[in-house]
């Protein structure tokens, strides 16, 4: 499949805003769960984490990331790498996510 010109890092991140952590009730991008995201020739490579190791929703969140990413035009493959280091911390949240959850800087 030929790479779609509109497919870039920003468009993928925008799409991933629709995937939420069900427990915290906020999107995984603003929660800081996406550590790295590369787009190259239609292949999306995502390095991400969870708020806690062994999160019960882990498989569903990863599946959600995969489903949302493959739904984008021009995507030929999605590779997700789940990592635990560096450990996720509330410090990684965006100001909007912190405000939503009542977390002070």
């Amino acid at each position: 499949m030929a790479a779609d010109n509109s497919l870039d890092r920003e468009s993928v991140l925008e799409a991933l805003h629709e995937v939420i952590d069900p427990e915290l009730g906020y999107n995984i991008v603003d929660l800081g769960l996406i550590y790295e995201l590369e787009v190259e020739a239609g292949v999306i490579k995502i390095t991400m984490t969870m708020t806690t190791p062994g999160c019960p929703a882990q498989d569903y969140i990863m599946s959600g990331v995969y489903e949302r990413s493959t739904g984008l035009p021009g995507v030929s493959d999605v590779q997700i790498n789940l990592v635990w280091l560096p450990a996720w911390s509330p410090r990684l949240m965006s100001p909007a996510a912190k405000a939503h959850l009542g977390i002070e800087d």
Partner: protein
């Protein structure tokens, strides 16, 4: 990418449903006046209610939670989902037999009384299956985190508790081995301490060390305080129960010292644990916390109250007389209270995973919090904890007649909380929100 279902416990929700039915059945026996304090502690009705609470309510609740929780802390699946179902069936059938057996002994019916050891054997089998299902992933995940170590030690106490229980059932009903097992019947208090303390309390402490920081975004590493709680509680319960049982056959002074040392270690563990729980609440990142964490504060208060009353009774040499009220506070206030409050999170969470988990990334899905309306739950939890407190106070102040009306209020509150669970499970509030969001906004001259 296919969704891996290893992290979703298929039988936890049915176990919680059975547990709630058993809780309401036990409350029904108390309301019927066939248990303590209207009847003696050793009355068949009391024993039936106690086992409906300990096995039917708390054990099923804890196992249902562990079947979901152990894969979380070990990152390993259970041995099998079918084993969880087998454990549920064995425990429910066994419990039914035990309850029938207690009433059979009371009625002088030898055939019905034999249902007690038969039921006890089924409960023993169910516990063995559950321990295997939970213990294998725990052992494979070594070195374990603090919660995992506490759960593993808790399982050892569970095995001890059911072994003692089965021995009691045989001593009560089987004629031949009675003379060998008869002295054990004096160890009912140790059986209760192993179950309510070594198994339920130690495990609840371990689970809370994972869930509270996880849901409130507080530091998970409990440092030396967590290790102290684990070691003191494990050694304390082991000493108190072990020495207490040994004293049934020997009056040696060192055994009394060991038993007292055990109680002292348990007290210290509870004090450090409650201090550490306060620390978790104070260092949380989420300033606004959810209903299950707010209401759990009352359960921790009941642990402190129950422990203080136990120490006071022990020092005053009245532990035997105070034991029923202490057990009531621990079963309904601490363990039952913690269970009911945490189910208010666990049931919506499991419901979300089952209903909406596979839709994530394919369209809009509700949040877990959309499955509940917290403000509706607060009055029920407040009534529950207040009624438990008043029930204990009525007995302590010598007004035992006030106990049953308090339990009636506890039952009403339990019904109210159970209905909120049911609404979460049926996604009642999520659908209401969907309908409200889809409805056109009212104009100023329209009536709502």
């Amino acid at each position: 990418m296919a969704v891996l279902s290893t992290r979703l416990s298929r039988w936890s929700l049915p176990m919680f449903a059975c547990a709630l039915v058993n809780l309401l059945a036990a409350q029904g026996l108390i309301l019927a006046g066939i248990t303590w304090p209207a009847q003696p502690v050793s009355a068949p009705g009391t024993l039936a209610a106690v086992h409906l609470l300990a096995i039917g309510w708390l054990l099923l609740l804890m196992l249902g939670a562990l079947f979901q929780f152990v894969p979380v802390i070990t990152s390993r699946p259970l041995v099998s989902q079918s084993m969880a179902f087998a454990a549920l069936i064995a425990l429910e059938i066994g419990l039914l037999g035990m309850v029938g057996g207690f009433f059979g002994i009371g009625a002088g019916s030898a055939p019905l009384a034999m249902a007690l050891p038969a039921g006890g054997a089924a409960v023993f089998l169910g516990v063995m299956i559950a321990c295997w299902n939970i213990g294998v992933p725990l052992l494979r995940a070594r070195p374990l985190s603090l919660p995992g170590r506490m759960v593993l030690c808790g399982l050892a106490f569970l095995l001890l508790t059911v072994t003692l229980g089965l021995s009691f059932a045989l001593a009560l009903t089987a004629p031949a081995p009675e003379r060998y097992l008869a002295p054990l019947l004096g160890g009912v208090g140790d059986h209760a301490l192993a179950g309510l303390g070594g198994w339920f309390t130690l495990t609840a402490m371990g689970v809370s060390y994972k869930l509270l920081p996880m849901f409130m975004l507080a530091p998970e590493d409990r440092g030396i305080a967590g290790d102290a709680v684990h070691i003191l509680a494990t050694v304390g319960f082991a000493l108190a129960v072990g020495a207490g049982l040994a004293r049934l056959w020997s009056a040696a002074e060192p055994l009394a010292v060991a038993e007292f040392t055990g109680y002292a270690a348990i007290t210290l563990a509870v004090i450090i644990y409650l201090w550490d729980i306060v620390r978790i609440y104070r260092t949380r990142k989420r300033t606004v916390i959810e209903a299950h964490n707010r209401t759990a504060v009352a359960a921790f208060g009941f642990l402190g109250l129950g422990a203080a009353l136990a120490i006071g009774s022990l020092v005053a040499g009245r532990l035997g007389a105070g034991a029923p009220v202490i057990v009531f506070l621990i079963v309904f206030g601490w363990l039952g209270g913690l269970g009911l409050t945490q189910l208010y999170k666990i049931i919506p969470f499991l419901t979300w995973l089952q209903r909406y988990g596979s839709s994530l990334g394919r369209g809009a899905v509700p949040r877990v919090q959309d499955l509940v309306r917290e403000r509706r739950s607060y009055p029920w939890f407040a009534l529950y904890f207040l009624a438990v407190l008043l029930g204990a106070a009525s007995v302590l102040s010598g007004h035992a007649a006030g106990f049953r009306p308090c339990v009636a209020l506890v039952t009403v509150a339990t019904f109210g909380i159970a209905i909120e669970y049911l609404r979460a499970w049926r996604a009642h509030y999520a659908q209401l929100r969907h309908i409200e969001a889809a409805a056109p906004p009212l104009r100023p001259n329209q009536r709502g």
